[in-house]
Symmetry: C2
Subunit: 400 residues, 2 copies
């Protein structure tokens, strides 16, 4: 947070919203978009539910926690209730002091470090981001950032694949974005860290004051020392499942493409993929054995949701904007017969593996004239695939 | 071959073409399509290259064995040369007698057993088919036939998967079509045979008089005893690589969909998939570990050629005409949160795994009113996921 943020009422209001509303609180986001952060906050602090409702109109979206058929005025009143409980206890300056002491900075729109990628989230863009580490968010995500995510319940196959893909992508100058969780996330972060200059960002669901999960503390500390930790939740926020799910939209938004390495049929990683899809970013998925439940979600993404099947680092790069993605193919679709002309292949195939034949006999077998066979044999000799021994032709066994 | 075939000059000419021309000889196929089998044969028997060329016009397609920039009159002359060498040695009646003695019947268009599926091949439709076994080709392929093909160099994973998919498809009344080769083909045939009444057809590249490959003799004999062996090559034809590739179009044509179970990057199974694609039949491919070279061709089909990723027997059925194939999804796309309402999930997530909280404390943590928490806890209690103990709420640990 720059001094400017502290004094700009709109930016200060954004930080306050981050402190009093849940990340994906739809009424808060709606009020902010409609009225601007400061005016919306003023209403939240002073107005009654009716006033808030009148200001917002009756198109107020329902929160995921709202019952169905819930009238707008009840939703507005409940939203106020949610915010005011926290507003009453809020000590804004103490929060900022604490963050500063911990080396946590606050990013808001307009900061040089605030990436345009977040604008794609439109009305669900975070109020602000809490960041820690030497990495510059905008620079790290400017051209080559890819989310690599997946199940906590990963297999060694998935972890190896995540690590290898992340290492290669980071070594190619890319930033690996993930969620810092056990399993695939951790393997992706580790792969990126292992790749010399490889950059990686962990976006956490809870506050940056308490690294979660505990078992990844050392890993997250290394990312914090060398690159960047992010959260849209202020310090002191516990990482609940709810916050994990809304955090996933940030992983998707801060990445030019998302690769799911392993995911069970209902993995949370699929929500990251859905966010990426909604943002019109490419989604890749790594296949695995059909017998592995840890790959079922990846197969589902490829089968049902148009994810691009990804098998190697080059195919990850292909997902970036401007890459061929899939279908168009980095590899020209090459006929299996292209390596050898069909005529030459027919002649070669007519020669028994461990015997030899005359050219006349070969021609008879495949319906070629002797001249045609002779020409093919000459070419096969040049390629080192056949050899003449007197009148007879035999194969030369190569690695082929 | 019915007595009618023997006496109908067109059908008799078709059988002769099968005896003197390679399966995919483009001049023979072109002449047959343009002039009809009998008139084309008469030209082949009597005419000079110039006459043949005048009859066929100058649009004569080149054979794969022809050099580029080869003028049509040279192609016509070479075609004549190919056919006449064999015509000179042909003893039509002896071939038929031999086939009959071996129990090999000849199928031609118009036979009740000739399936309409073959008409989709148009100008590359076989002249006739040589068939052996009690199965009726038309009945076996009428509604539910699927090709299951793949590498000879298969892995246990691929063989197990092929066997399981084939067994389930055959048990569902389907016919598994394959090429009788080692590896995936054999596993698919075996899976179908193992499924009680499961039907399977092996389409061979060589003549039915010598079952190939030798190591699959017993398997092919069982298919011949119980179902059907097919070839477009007459008895006495050796199975060269060239004939394998043209045989693949028959596997694709006689199947309503093609599933590639394992295939290396340049596997011949990819040619079967390409034929199926050209025939507008669905192509499915089974994924595997990205580290397995035996799955590289399958991944390529999914990535680059629009094949549908297939993981289980139900997804094989989906490939049949009228099935949802993919994208549309047999499984409704279900949000990971659907199982529990978001509000209830938030409340549940706020309860520590091995501790308990008051409802007021839960509400404070997630920004819910106490009434909202109480309602959610009531629902969670009903679902057996939470329990009240005095004023406090704790989780109930289920299998979830």
């Amino acid at each position: 947070m720059t001094p400017q943020t502290l004094h700009d009422p709109e930016l200060r209001a954004r930080v306050t919203w981050s402190l009093i509303a849940e990340p994906a609180d739809p009424v808060a986001l709606y009020a902010r978009e409609l009225l601007g952060p400061a005016a919306a906050l003023e209403l939240a602090e002073r107005a009654e539910g009716g006033t808030l409702l009148r200001a917002l109109g009756d198109t107020l979206p329902a929160a995921p926690s709202d019952p169905k058929d819930d009238p707008p005025h009840r939703r507005a009143r409940r939203a106020l209730e949610r915010w005011r409980g926290r507003l009453a206890r809020l000590d804004f300056e103490a929060v900022l002091d604490d963050a500063q002491r911990r080396g946590i900075r606050i990013l808001t729109p307009g900061d040089p470090e605030w990436p345009e990628l977040l604008d794609d989230l439109q009305h669900t863009a975070p109020h602000c981001l809490w960041a820690q580490g030497p990495g510059d968010l905008r620079a790290l995500t400017h051209e080559r950032s890819v989310a690599m995510v997946g199940s906590r319940a990963s297999t060694p196959y998935g972890e190896d694949t995540a690590g290898a893909l992340a290492a290669a992508f980071a070594a190619a100058g890319g930033t690996v974005v993930s969620g810092g969780a056990y399993g695939i996330d951790a393997a992706a972060h580790r792969g990126a860290l292992a790749a010399g200059d490889g950059a990686t960002i962990a976006i956490l669901a809870g506050g940056l004051d308490a690294l979660y999960p505990r078992g990844n503390t050392r890993l997250l500390e290394r990312i914090r020392e060398r690159h960047l930790l992010l959260s849209e939740a202020p310090p002191g926020t516990a990482p609940t499942r709810w916050r994990f799910l809304s955090r996933n939209r940030l992983i998707a938004a801060l990445s030019h493409a998302t690769v799911v390495v392993e995911a069970s049929w209902r993995s949370g990683a699929l929500s990251t993929a859905r966010h990426a899809d909604e943002l019109s970013r490419h989604v890749g998925a790594v296949p695995g054995p059909v017998t592995s439940a840890a790959s079922a979600g990846c197969h589902r993404l490829i089968r049902e949701r148009g994810a691009v099947l990804v098998t190697d680092p080059a195919e990850v790069l292909d997902l970036l904007p401007g890459g061929p993605a899939a279908g168009e193919g980095r590899h020209a679709v090459q006929d299996e017969l292209d390596l050898l002309s069909p005529a030459d292949r027919r002649v070669l195939d007519a020669i028994p593996p461990r015997s030899s034949l005359t050219e006349a006999r070969i021609g008879d077998e495949i319906g070629f004239s002797t001249q045609e066979v002779a020409a093919a044999v000459a070419r096969l000799e040049l390629l080192g695939l056949a050899a003449r021994a007197g009148e007879r032709v035999r194969r030369v066994h190569s690695a082929r």
